[in-house]
Amino acid sequence: MGYFGNVFGGFGSLLSGMSVTLRKFSQTVIRRKAVTMQYPKELPELAPAYRSAIKLIRFEESNSHDCVACKACERICPSYCIKLSGGKVEGIKKKRVAEFEMDFALCSLCGLCLDVCPTDTLEYSKVYEEAGYNRDWRVDLLAEFRDYEEEFVAKQRVIEEKAAAEKKAKAEAAKKAKEAKKKAEADEKADNDSKEELS
């Protein structure tokens, strides 16, 4: 073979490569198999695990979040992107967060804050159109909750009062039961005593 063998062998390999590209070409043209997603016209389907900026969950029963301002997330966050404050709220026992600022420009989407949250009130949001005109990506996570806060407090008060009442009732019941038991015991004892006496 030698010289000509090399030349023609090489030529053959080139043709086989060209057959591949021609095949792809015709596939794209005839079967319209382009892989491009025409983004603003079609939108991607997000995976359930998709991670974007964190946000507070709105729970069904309370119609609000459940952050107790424990600051565990603020402490664990490796990117220092959470700033929150809060504490005791007038009228209810439960602590509430008053300010919750999250700087999404810094967030590394590690999910550590989700892991440590004692009330599991954090989750990833699904926003992905994150282009902006400046670097300021601080979001007030409480914005969507503020209007409901009073409602929540009212509700919570009811719940707490109810709980307190229940607790009180329970305590009383327990006390009563205890007293009753004591009485019964005492009665029994008296009975026994009298029996003993009798015998």
Partner: protein, 372 residues
């Protein structure tokens, strides 16, 4: 350099390639001394994407360092992320549930394939073939989508936790991964037709940039680049970690040490990774993905520890010095690309300018990993 030797070398001029150059893989800068098109000396200059990950590790607790790991090497972020978890687990004696072990192996190998595919594409781009680049990115995109399903991110994963992973895989994930294996096998056949058999590629790569076994060993070259030089060293086999000893796979070795050998090794590694994934999908048990009992704080015992994993580019080691608190005194990351690149000045001397691009492309450097 004295003027004498300059005269004896003829007309030598220096060319500054990078850090902004189309084929310098991020921000590598090569100072080349050229005579005509022949490279006389090559000097890599690094440090353009230094982010002080090691220093950051000294200022935060072990858990908080997790998101950093995948940013060290964003192309095999999963391997780095899980590797770090495995190091800490071994150190603290945390048992990983069976299911988590298998999940980790699957996502690790998927990530390895993705990284090799990206290398394949960019390497061909360096050689001037643009179409294979887009084909391989199409395949890689599929992997990223699959991984996105469970990790929620596409590149800088923070999927691992000490003791397990954050999100359980479901049937869809497993079927998609299986489907992908079939797809990539078919595509590898196509790549062979389009690229591997191509006479131009063979001419460009064969015998170019030979890294001898001795040279590779002396610079601590690892990963596919080392295995192309005839050393069968793979951390997954040499010091099995994370359950790799349960799987049946080979470590491909070639002896030529040239660019073509490095090319073939990576293609064959993709096949081997497919084998591992297949076995793992078959054998994955039901169960928990995180251990039930976990320490509250991950305090590092006093002393020095070393743990290594095989990343897509080679031996990635973590040298941890603990002092009893949960903040490491020192966390040194031994990244493979750094050593691989160190062997370049000797390899590049005497080659053509176009070969330089091909050779640097073939060792698959990721600059942020070198700079850390």
């Amino acid at each position: 350099m004295s003027s004498d030797s300059q005269a004896s070398e003829g007309e030598v001029y220096s060319l500054n390639m990078g850090p902004q150059h189309p084929s310098m893989h991020g921000v590598l800068r090569l100072l080349l001394d050229l005579r005509g098109e022949e490279v006389i000396r090559a000097k890599p200059v690094i440090g353009y994407s230094h982010r002080a990950h090691e220093k950051m590790a000294e200022n935060r607790n072990t858990l908080q360092f997790l998101p950093n790991t995948s940013r060290v090497d964003y192309l095999s972020g999963m391997i780095y992320n899980l590797g770090y978890c495995q190091a800490i687990e071994k150190l603290l004696g945390i048992d990983v549930p069976e299911r988590a072990i298998y999940i980790r192996v699957i996502v690790n190998e998927l990530n390895r394939i993705a990284s090799h595919l990206l290398w394949f594409g960019t390497f061909l781009l360096d050689l001037g073939g643009i179409t294979p680049f887009l084909y391989s990115f199409d395949d890689r995109e599929e992997i990223l989508d699959i991984l996105d399903q469970v990790t929620g991110s596409r590149l800088t994963y923070c999927y691992g936790r000490f003791g397990g992973v954050t999100w359980d895989v479901d049937e869809t994930f497993l079927t998609r991964a299986t489907a992908f294996l079939a797809r990539i096998r078919e595509r590898l056949h196509m790549y062979k037709q389009l690229v591997t058999d191509n006479v131009i590629l063979r001419e460009r790569c064969t015998g170019v940039g030979v890294v001898s076994e001795a040279l590779a060993k002396s610079y601590g070259v690892t990963g596919p680049s080392l295995r192309a030089s005839g050393v069968a060293y793979d951390v997954r086999k040499a010091e099995p970690y994370g359950g790799y000893d349960r799987f049946d796979f080979e470590v491909p070795v070639l002896h030529e040490g040239d660019t073509m050998a490095r090319f073939h090794i990576r293609i064959r590694e993709i096949e081997e990774s497919c084998k591992i994934i297949e076995q793992a999908i078959e054998a994955i048990p039901e169960g928990e993905i995180l251990p039930k009992k976990m320490p509250k704080r991950f305090k590092l015992p006093e002393g020095e520890y070393y743990f290594a994993v095989e990343s897509a580019r080679g031996h990635f080691g973590m040298y941890i010095v603990g002092d009893g608190s949960d903040i490491p005194v020192k966390l040194k990351l031994r990244t493979p690309s750094f050593s691989n690149l160190s062997a370049m000045p000797e390899t590049l001397a005497g080659t053509m300018l176009a070969d330089t691009i091909a050779i640097v492309g073939s060792i698959d450097v990721v600059m942020p990993e070198i700079d850390r």
